[in-house]
Amino acid sequence: MIPESDTYNFAYLDEQTKRMIRRGLLKAVSVPGLQIPFGGREMPLPYGWGTGGIQVTAAVIGEDDCLKVIDQGADDTTNAVSIRRFFAKTASVATTEVTEDATLIQTRHRIPETPLVAGQILIYQVPIPEPLRFIEPRETETRKMHALSEYGVMHVKLYEDIAQFGQIATAYAYPVLVNGRYVMDPSPIPKFDNPKMHQNPALQLFGAGREKRLYAVPPYTDVESLDFEDHRFEVQSWDENCALCGSNDTFLDEVIVDDAGSRMFVCSDTHFCNRRQELSNG
């Protein structure tokens, strides 16, 4: 018998649910890039806001963990703030905005600029886990295609890009081949972040709440972005530097700053940008 209680269980989900998710995660880590179905629960936030990521976080978080949550690289947006507070409240864990201090980082659409280290876990929120979905609506068929490594159609997508735009125009959710076997959707991170997944010392976990799928990239795994021999994979670059910290090698957001349409480019990773500003101000 589980004793009745007035408070939520540690990290909101009940222990059986967490075990179920952990079993799925173990399987996901064993077969890098393979999508594992799991019994996703209703969470106290809408689908599309991070229900998959929040369930994975709840399943792996422990009392000694230190949690960082980012949304498009920022620590201070609504989604990041509320998920961070959710775990501070239901799990009483320490939270941080400092990438190096975090043991768990739940992210929506970015990988932090500060290189991750062994022992850290990066948890992605995933809207559509199936990279083949755009061309094949049937789940039975896409599973078969994964099983038989029938990945020719992924290149059809890139072919269409080049035919239409003269270059591979896919800028986010850029398909990758994991460990030389499974093609995976890296969630809508900009392709700028794709190279960071390759041989990353941190464990990368992916949770799709609406589609109820888990997948993973274990530490030090090959992650290769698909391309053509004569149209290589390239990351975005900017003519300007970050207007706040001067960085020239980070992912920049274009921000409109007044009604006259003036704009500036700033780092999307707020922690990285603040750190650089502090260092240069002494």
């Binding site: 078969k144 099983a147 029938e150 020719g152 159609v153 290149h155 269409e160 080049i162 021999e229 004569d230």
Partner: protein, 258 residues
């Protein structure tokens, strides 16, 4: 002595008594066009699906000779082998081009898909092969980036042929390739098909209920009724001197326009 490329023995698939196909024996030699004719529900399409590995039979065997002179029994092959054969050795032309094309992918992408599926990774090469094939089936290569959604029925059907032939298959299956096209477009398509088949020396199994199509394209004919082959032989022989009563009716039913 040349071996048949495809050979079926005692092939049976039953949906109900007299529905499906029963104890079919046939051989297809490299470079020949085999026509299968018969009325609706006579088991033509079922037979085609069995022969092309899209469905497993209840009974019987199908021996297929690959490019490397290996003999594969399609009735015992794994799904992955069948799908691989489907991309490399077979071509399947559907009656409705919508079933065989990706309508929202450009014509070039449609032709290139099979190439990319077997590991071609050079955009420039894929594109030049695609435009070459468009010329081959008489579609203006200038439309390489247009979507088949905006093509006419005849163009869609020709694009489907190009998409299948691009990987040099050795055996093509066609299910009523001219169905749903108007007569002049049919004639043009048949012309293209006949030219390509002769030029490339590929074997073709074509299912049709149109005797005109059969006479024009097929070297040999099988006549089917109630799931069984009731007559077979050279096309001219069968059509000019039909033996079975049903075949006589079938031949007599061709509209004579004078």
């Amino acid at each position: 002595m040349v071996d048949p490329i495809l050979s079926a023995q005692n092939l049976t698939k039953s949906y109900a008594p007299e529905q499906g196909c029963f104890s079919i024996e046939l051989d297809v030699w490299p470079g020949e066009v085999l026509g299968i004719v018969g009325e609706s529900g006579s088991g033509k399409s079922t037979l085609l699906r069995l022969l092309s590995g899209q469905e497993y039979p209840d009974n019987g065997s199908i021996q297929f000779k690959t490019r490397d002179h290996e003999s594969i029994d399609l009735t015992e092959a794994t799904e992955s082998t069948l799908r691989y054969l489907g991309r490399t050795e077979f071509g399947i032309i559907h009656q409705n081009p919508r079933d065989g094309l990706r309508l929202r992918i450009s014509a070039g992408g449609n032709i290139g898909e099979r190439l990319m599926g077997i590991g071609q990774r050079h955009y420039g090469d894929i594109r030049s092969i695609a435009s070459q094939w468009m010329r081959e089936v008489e579609i203006d290569p200038g439309r390489i980036d247009d979507k088949p959604l905006n093509f006419s029925g005849g163009m869609q059907q020709r694009l489907q042929i190009a998409r299948n032939l691009v990987t040099n298959p050795r055996l093509i299956f066609m299910d009523e390739p001219t169905g749903g096209l108007d007569v002049s477009v049919q004639a043009k398509l048949l012309d293209t098909l006949k030219g390509l088949v002769q030029e490339l020396g590929i074997a073709v199994i074509i299912v049709t209920h149109d005797m005109g199509v059969a006479r024009l394209l097929a070297d040999r004919l099988l006549v089917m009724k109630n799931g069984q082959v009731i007559e077979s032989g050279l096309t001219d022989q069968v059509l000019d001197d039909p033996h079975a009563a049903y075949t006589q009716q079938l031949v007599a039913s061709i509209l004579q326009v004078n």
